[in-house]
Symmetry: C3
Subunit: 262 residues, 3 copies
């Protein structure tokens, strides 16, 4: 149940360690706080393992990657794997440049993520280089990459969560579809990164990765639908989205939820 | 026509590659999305050339520069020059420290920007070291540096766009003046950086650099004037500015525009 | 008087040099602008001393520290000490990892801060390693660490400002208590970092460090109380907080102030 997960996050205030990109550090920290979690951002190789060891989930995001940061991501990810702390991996912009694709593939091999969360082009590029992500935006709809998501789920041994007009959350043969959300969400930078961070919060309180990942996408989409009703554009949407994450109730979830397959 | 440029941005959703400062990455990405473009931030030397090659404009901004980032800026800028992709250069804080002035001058020589966009003190310092920028704020009015802007335009072979109470956009002997804008804009960090990013969006769809740069400053100023009417201070102004960029119409441009010389 | 300090900031627009973390660079710059100061962020070792020399206060914050940034912090801090420019130090997350604790202790020894501003767990960890900060959140109330704050004030020879439900601002045996503020402030990332930046603004116009640090905490708390009344959650709170900093009047200070000991 989504609402149970949200209540657990609010009650337990889990520490979520993020090694993420410069663009979204502030906004994803605020989204984690709004949903009830406790975010920390730390990337120095000297401290990432110790910080991960304190956390209940690790979120790794390559949006503004560089070589030293990838080293820190690997160190933190390996420590999380050793301590059985769940890891969410967001391959931002994978497919746009060879460097991103190679780093993303290496990270998946080294850190064994619990959930890979990306857009359709990013997910496709993890299997087939040169699929042509447009910067950090998708060129494909989620349903076009269902087969790739399944294959990636099997080969990487993890849940694959593909955002799109309908989100697909895949674990082996199982597929959950979430039809919540609003196009305005694509007019705010880093909403995908926020989805990954929120997935980290859910997986920190819900050990069933498929369910946790789907619940996170449902909350994102529902909060987006509610927030957009109060918004005149992407500026006011940003604050209404945070206010909605903070104040959302179980009855809102019931009213808006469009989730199939769980 | 400004409105034609805006419509082209909204229809074509051009990818704009930004190598910019930590302070404004989020806000300039959101401004680019609000105006209709697709932003990407990437700075690793391993990928900047490939990312620039995908983009329709490159925006370089030295607000929080360091040696490795300047290297990446040069690589990206040279690739843009080679591929005839327009480049906007924002010499943030140039004149405040010798390091900034030297890096900015070197960048201009190496990357051949299409537009240099800065405040009056920054523009002056590009010609005369030691002109004394106050951190990132200008100590001079734009009209005080018209001669320097013209000289810089000739020597660097590019358009020079100087923000101020009246913006001056200069190409050789031609001068466009934009009298739009509001003092509240100086109470939000990075509005100059946003102007540079928006200039990147305009120049990606309008190959006439003088016109594109002037149109960008006009849109900034007009959106600022409209947004401030709905705002109680610089916090609400930020979101109203994004909402206005997103929803602005041709009739708003006609009503507010104060542009001469084009 | 708090109001006199605010008026001086608004009139003199002091340049505040920040070497701070990626999460809060935008929001603390905007808070400094809203209160009337002029922020600059610069961290390159090649320019930090020169930039500090232009500023009226230096704010150092280790929220996303790494070895090269700590080097720059030390260089800037020593230059500030040499030029008698006041320094505010925020040991974000100190106590969470050994790296943070060691770096924070080293920074205090090298740069002689004028004010150390942190939460209770961070302050405790500066004296006793292993006190267990939860990421960047406190596990202790401010009143639990009064003795440590006094000891730290004596050994480091500076003012210690501990945020909490009641803020404690300590200089040797003197203790100021500020009971302003609202729990919503802990739902927005970086409000502690903002408090440190605002402390920098106050100390740049008020040479009495105990009074400047207490005034800054009082303004933070009062602006928070006013802003929360207009807010539906942490998203709208952020913008209302900036609007309040920008528009606050002497009569607001008088009406809300809960400060003892000054």
């Amino acid at each position: 149940m989504i609402w149970q997960d949200i209540q657990r996050i609010r009650n337990e205030v889990p520490l979520i360690h993020n090694i993420t990109n410069y663009v979204v550090m502030n906004t994803t920290a605020n989204a984690l706080l709004a949903v009830g979690a406790s975010p920390v951002m730390a990337h120095a190789v000297e401290e990432v393992e110790e910080m991960t060891g304190l956390a209940r989930a690790l979120v790794i995001n390559i949006g503004t990657l560089s070589v030293p940061w990838v080293e820190a991501m690997i160190k933190a990810g390996k420590e999380a794997h050793r301590l059985k702390i769940p890891v969410v991996f967001d391959p931002v912009g994978c497919g746009a440049t060879q460097f991103r694709t190679v780093c993303a593939q290496k990270l998946i091999q080294e850190i064994h993520p619990t959930v890979i969360r990306g857009n359709a082009s990013e997910v496709r590029s993890l299997l087939r280089a040169g699929s042509g992500t447009k910067g950090v935006d998708s060129r494909h709809a989620s349903h076009e990459v269902l087969d790739e998501a399944r294959e990636l789920s099997r080969t990487a041994g993890c849940v694959v969560s593909v955002s799109g007009e309908v989100d697909l959350i895949v674990e082996g043969d199982k597929t959950v579809r979430v039809a919540n959300g609003h196009p305005m969400m694509s007019k705010v930078t880093g909403m995908g990164c926020t989805a990954s961070a929120i997935t980290g919060a859910f997986i920190s309180v819900n050990p069933k990765a498929l369910s946790a990942a789907a619940h996170a996408m449902a909350l994102m989409g529902i909060a987006g639908e509610i927030a957009v009703k109060r918004s005149a554009g992407p500026g006011s949407f940003q604050l209404n989205f945070l206010d909605t994450l903070y104040s959302i109730q179980g009855s809102d979830i019931e009213e808006y939820l469009k989730m199939q397959g769980l």
